[in-house]
Symmetry: C2
Subunit: 488 residues, 2 copies
Amino acid sequence: MILIKIDKQSTVPVFRQIIHQLAFLIDGGVLKVGDRLPASRMLAAQLGVNRATVYRAYEELWAAGYTESRPGSYSVVRARMTMNVDPGPPGSLIDWAGIGRESRLVGQSLTFAGRKLFQGEIINFRPLSPDSRLMPVDDFRKCMHDVLVKEGASLLQYGDTFGYRPLREFLVRHLQKHGIQVSVDEIMLTNGSQQSLDLILRFFDKPGLKVAVEQPSYSQFINLLDFYQAQVVGLPMGENGADLAEVDRIFVREKPAFFYTMPNFHNPLGISTSQEYRERLLKLCETHRVVLIEDGFEEEMKFFGKAILPIKSMDSKQVVIYLGTFSKVLFPGLRVGWIAADKACISHLAAIRQIVDHSGNQLSQAAIYKYCISGYYDLHLKRLHREYRKRMQAALKAVREFIPEIIRCTKPSGGYLLWMKMPDDRIEESVLLEKLSGAGVSVSPGQLFFSEKQTIPAFRLSIAHLDETEIRLGMERIGRVLSEVYGR
Amino acid sequence: MILIKIDKQSTVPVFRQIIHQLAFLIDGGVLKVGDRLPASRMLAAQLGVNRATVYRAYEELWAAGYTESRPGSYSVVRARMTMNVDPGPPGSLIDWAGIGRESRLVGQSLTFAGRKLFQGEIINFRPLSPDSRLMPVDDFRKCMHDVLVKEGASLLQYGDTFGYRPLREFLVRHLQKHGIQVSVDEIMLTNGSQQSLDLILRFFDKPGLKVAVEQPSYSQFINLLDFYQAQVVGLPMGENGADLAEVDRIFVREKPAFFYTMPNFHNPLGISTSQEYRERLLKLCETHRVVLIEDGFEEEMKFFGKAILPIKSMDSKQVVIYLGTFSKVLFPGLRVGWIAADKACISHLAAIRQIVDHSGNQLSQAAIYKYCISGYYDLHLKRLHREYRKRMQAALKAVREFIPEIIRCTKPSGGYLLWMKMPDDRIEESVLLEKLSGAGVSVSPGQLFFSEKQTIPAFRLSIAHLDETEIRLGMERIGRVLSEVYGR
């Protein structure tokens, strides 16, 4: 029997305590490769906790590469993996892991290690960033050269906390194309949307903070909420968004500080909500004075059908904080995103930003500005659209051809993402993902995108880094596995 | 009589409540230009708070440009200034300032507005970053071009959270020159030291966190501690560092989580501690298991006398977290710094960093790497040394020539900073600074670098952006004002 001690008074969630202690036992060699973990039911009874809690811990241990799932739903310790968080060699006088446990950090740091079971080229449906093969490096290099020649010395000095002003002015004009009317004081550049979200959480942070979140939602946002110990109020997503009557009830009952939504090409679902839905959602936020965080991370990536305006374009009462980024269409490595919101809100966020990391990389912001005003950006977008329209068409065609009809798959009108949800729980998600991996495809586990344990397996597919041939081959492999489990 | 309501139960410090309400009254026009604020003694009595609290609020209002000090030590509302934090127009449904008040943010955001009273060229002793006139822009441009040609597409993708590996490997070798032995796993690149400090505070953050800090210390670190509501245990700095017997007592009595120190060219004092002091301080940290944060922000800027090794070079027990940066010798605008510490510590910090902003600007990291390994960096440092040695000599000479002997001024052996402390409180700091401003010199207020109210005026001088002629002219102006107040 494994000895695990749970401290229910601790601020560290119980499932994280379990993860940490099991990881410790595995790292320390107490549990060896091939050893079976106790059945989740048993361990739950032993610890006096909910079975779902143990289940979640097991899932994360699996995702971190500590265990494999075996049919019959037990977990065994797998061969060694890499791990971000080092428990600390005995060489240090300081108990770093102890500090980590007391801080709000524990468990954030386990990363997916993966293991290559498949002999051959793995088709990787996981990365969500523009294909390196489509990156306009040469044009950008010219822009970088230009700004260094013309204003190098000043760009290499400390910059404005709000970001390089000409780029903010460009964004003011650019957002007008999407119907958004903001002034230059209402935009702050950030180091990408991850920082935008972190700054927003710092601004709203207080004991007992409640946040309404779509389920599923962006996985790193869920991790961030976990880090801030925010209370997550989940709003299940249907094919047309959340149930607005339910949103209304939740707003009244829970009074969340804000609602985080991705209206276009939702991550991970790939779906977009309708114009009418957006208007009604905004109205609800206004009525209940709930701030709406609109993440427009792929605003520009609409390539089928008519464009639908972002919610921010209708925001006459200034309740929407809009997030944009260059990471999903241009250069993720430059870390340039932005927040557009009420001037008072932006000035508070800038004040926080100043003590967090002072300011962003001014040189990159200036080079991107140059890239945009030289007309390169519009050309690049056109090229991306042409390319990804073909890819998405190939993906949807392959879904019809290879994926059993019983599997629900979204039909995006843009962006890079599709979502497949199984009809029932006859197979565990981790087992299904191992099978897919064995068949030569890598996908993102559905569970990552939920704050609560899910019983029905699902997974996210990104076509960002794959061409049409690769997409078709990958879908064929997925289809084979799914047909095996669910029949044709 | 002014109506101010103080909530003593609030987590917002009382002095911030005062600031906020007075600023509100001024912004709203209730208090008009020229209006006198109540005497601090009176307001303190009225509110039932300590006079020092009111005093601090008044100081910050002054620093934010809301008021001017008049002889006889009362404050009047001055003509309009700019302010970072906008109280929010009536246009928004959301009370952004209210959210700001509930979060830990209030007051962080007031910035120094300044006002040009002097007719002519102001000599600016405030900026702490390399002189733009000395920036090696052309060499850097070549490096940037090179890395974009050779590995542009991969550098523009999402990078490693730990930072561009070749630069980390370079730093491993480079730190050996300072006697520091670390492996590549013990270094993480950050967006500058401000982010390094923020990540460290996030790691240590817990209710009741205690931090030992030199007094005075880096002003933005004090603001950060305030934001995290950390309890500051101040250690007064003498000419040879803090009193180590006192450090010992404080470590025993207060058990701080860590001690933050700047052994070389201390900000704001400009002084460096001795080899013996460093050894004894490290020993104390080991004995009491207090983590030592060593900020080596100007490690490379020693240009008089013998180099003294950083404390990290003696850190056999792994209790030191060492911070470095390129911002004070190369390009602040690129936001590249680093943390060197025990592997377990670094892996925890990286885990936090991943959810905070994912990773840094990989392209800039690669271009700096190229700049360093091409030999440009060493040449640039030599040039900086040559230049700043002359400037510092000019500054010290001008101090002897123009500054009354009764004023205590530090004698740095490197870096950019000098510190002047007045012999008594016959003049208020804010009044003194107004006088200096009127005489055509801008300096950094001493109070900024303390977490507690100081009665003896002091100020920081940076020679970073001034050449020898400017330094001499500026010192002459300072000397004139000080002689007027304190006699020759």
